[in-house]
Subunit: 358 residues, 2 copies
């Protein structure tokens, strides 16, 4: 698998966003949002999606020069209309609003409509860390997930990210799809023609299946918990909460009306809202207790969990954010591995936009 430097991939993404018509500042923000996924090992949400964004733009579903505006607000809240912009640009803007509100009244909460796929949730939540704030980010997404007891795909993988600062320890960064497995993991198995573990997907009748291609034949991803006996109704609740806060609260397309990421699928008929929705939050630590005191207790929390006794066959307990930090350290040094098919796609994008690259 070829490796690319952060700089090289960043430059390509930046040039592609410029070629789409994004202003320089937005192209920078979008390229950063995208590349952070590749750095942190979330390959499904990095440059592998660049061609997908371009296709959405070609289909007229992404506005490269959005007028992102506040349509409603209170001292601690705002609703933003993303004007069909790139989620990679809209979400950081919304997070800035949340942080500003938190600076003024302790917390800030921003619901966003009329946006598009925002990349990895963790990146947006982490913007709060440098301000000694807890950051929260969620988004609804293309409907691929069946609620417990159903065969219909009514929810997206609807991720939740929560970033919490510590003192000497690295921050706690949870970032996860509210499904048993993220769609990106299933796509890896599809490319390998490998079986999926039972509990990740169901077939068109709602029966468990190990067929990683089941979604192509009317199957669905399963909510976290896999089945009722193992708590899938809780994963369904989580996905639903993300959908409602991101899309019903903001005026975006919710549930099965969330617009698909892939441009070859039609937009939903009889839309109930505009575009995709996000929900961003920021809470000032010192709105609850002195920040230094909190961060020292977070160090203690992290160390206690890190030092917990491992189960047989395991070396150590991980803190949320550890795997992504390890990936970032390795990839900043050795470069970012890119699948051959993705590398080929990137070369085609460079050619398409006459970008001199690699």
């Amino acid at each position: 698998m070829p490796h690319f430097s952060y700089h090289s991939l960043y430059q390509l993404a930046y040039q592609v966003f410029l070629a789409m018509g994004c202003p320089e500042a937005d192209a920078t923000t979008a390229a950063e949002s995208l590349l952070i996924a590749d750095l942190r090992g979330v390959d499904s949400h990095g440059v592998a999606r660049l061609a997908g964004y371009v296709r959405l733009w070609e289909a007229g579903r992404i506005n490269p020069k959005p007028n992102i505006r506040v349509v409603h607000q209170t001292p601690s809240t705002a609703t933003l209309d993303g004007d069909a912009g790139l989620g990679l640009v809209v979400a950081p803007r919304a997070m800035q609003h949340a942080i500003q509100k938190a600076q003024q009244v302790g917390t800030g909460w921003v619901s966003v409509c009329n946006s598009n796929h925002f990349g990895i949730a963790g990146h947006h939540a982490m913007q709060a860390l440098a301000q000694d704030m807890i950051g929260i980010a969620m988004t609804n997404a293309s409907p691929l997930v069946a609620p417990t007891f159903s065969v219909e795909r009514l929810l997206g993988t609807n991720p939740i990210a929560v970033a919490i600062p510590a003192h000497k320890q690295p921050p706690f960064v949870a970032d996860f799809a509210t499904t048993t497995a993220a769609n990106g993991k299933l796509e890896i198995l599809q490319r390998q023609n490998a079986d999926a573990p039972l509990g990740w997907v169901q077939d068109q009748h709602g029966k468990p299946t190990s067929n990683a291609h089941a979604l192509k034949h009317g199957g669905a991803l399963l909510p976290l918990g896999s089945d009722r006996e193992h708590g899938s109704h809780k994963g369904y609740c989580l996905g639903a909460i993300v959908d409602i806060l991101s899309a019903v609260l903001s005026g975006a397309g919710y549930g099965p009306w969330a617009p698909p990421f892939v441009s070859f699928l039609p937009l939903p008929a009889n839309p109930v809202g505009k575009g995709l929705g996000h929900f961003l939050g920021a809470m000032r630590i010192d709105a609850f207790r002195p920040a230094e005191e909190f961060k020292q207790h977070m160090d203690n929390w992290i160390q206690r969990f890190r030092n917990a006794q491992p189960a047989e066959g395991y070396e150590r307990i991980l803190i949320p954010g550890d795997p992504e930090r390890a990936a970032e350290a390795e990839r900043r040094q050795r470069g970012i591995p890119i699948a051959d098919s993705v590398a080929e796609e990137l070369h085609q994008l460079a050619k398409k936009f006459s970008i001199s690259w690699e």
Copy 2:
């Protein structure tokens, strides 16, 4: 199994709380908080726990006349010290603060330390509904849950409740432990000497087991997801987030330092904070969009999900809150079924405090 009326059980609980020394208003609040669990079918959190609260009071761990006070605040946040009061009283008070803040600046967020077990989370979240607000409630709890890859019990079942108002439809009320199965469900199997499904608990070596008594022998409850392959690291993240927002943010005992509910277990040595912690939130709907508009879209959301096509073998898709509403309708009419052992315990409590009952 004997059935009791709401009124009868309420009167007993109210008299017991009065006998513990609670002021009348607090005894009312506590009895209501407790009974709502029995009404809604969450038997493990209702009058079955009354004797446990009494034992904690006898051990000097519950203060019946707490001076619940705000120790820190901003326009949208507050930190409350529950003064070792009943969580059943402290949490509703904290929710009132959250609602008042939301009335003023759009949202309100209250972290609580120095409290005790608060009953069912859903009840506290639902206080926001009548104000056209979204209510959120969480709490940390006695450590019974092992993080992914560990054999140590470092987290509680740490529930999350989110209540969202609708228009003509009943509200969306999610209320769930962040473990695969709540401890109450395991206790039912223990009483029946029945096996637990694999994925609910692990043994002292961290291996899967169907022994419902495994916790007595060094085992642990498992985070939602059951094992790494099925996303238990996500359940671990959720439990950790609840622990941090409820306890690290407020100054309560977090992780393995959370005080146990049972009075026969000693309080943790070298405490890192005071008592148990909760986190309550309220968000005004019209801080984001007009409330009527939102609630009509919630009706549409609920109807679309309720009418989804069921999987083979299932009749219909449930909306979060449906099972509890069905239990409440049935129990208000036919009375509340109480296990013989619990009924016997209640009679002993009545005798102990010279309460004329049944």
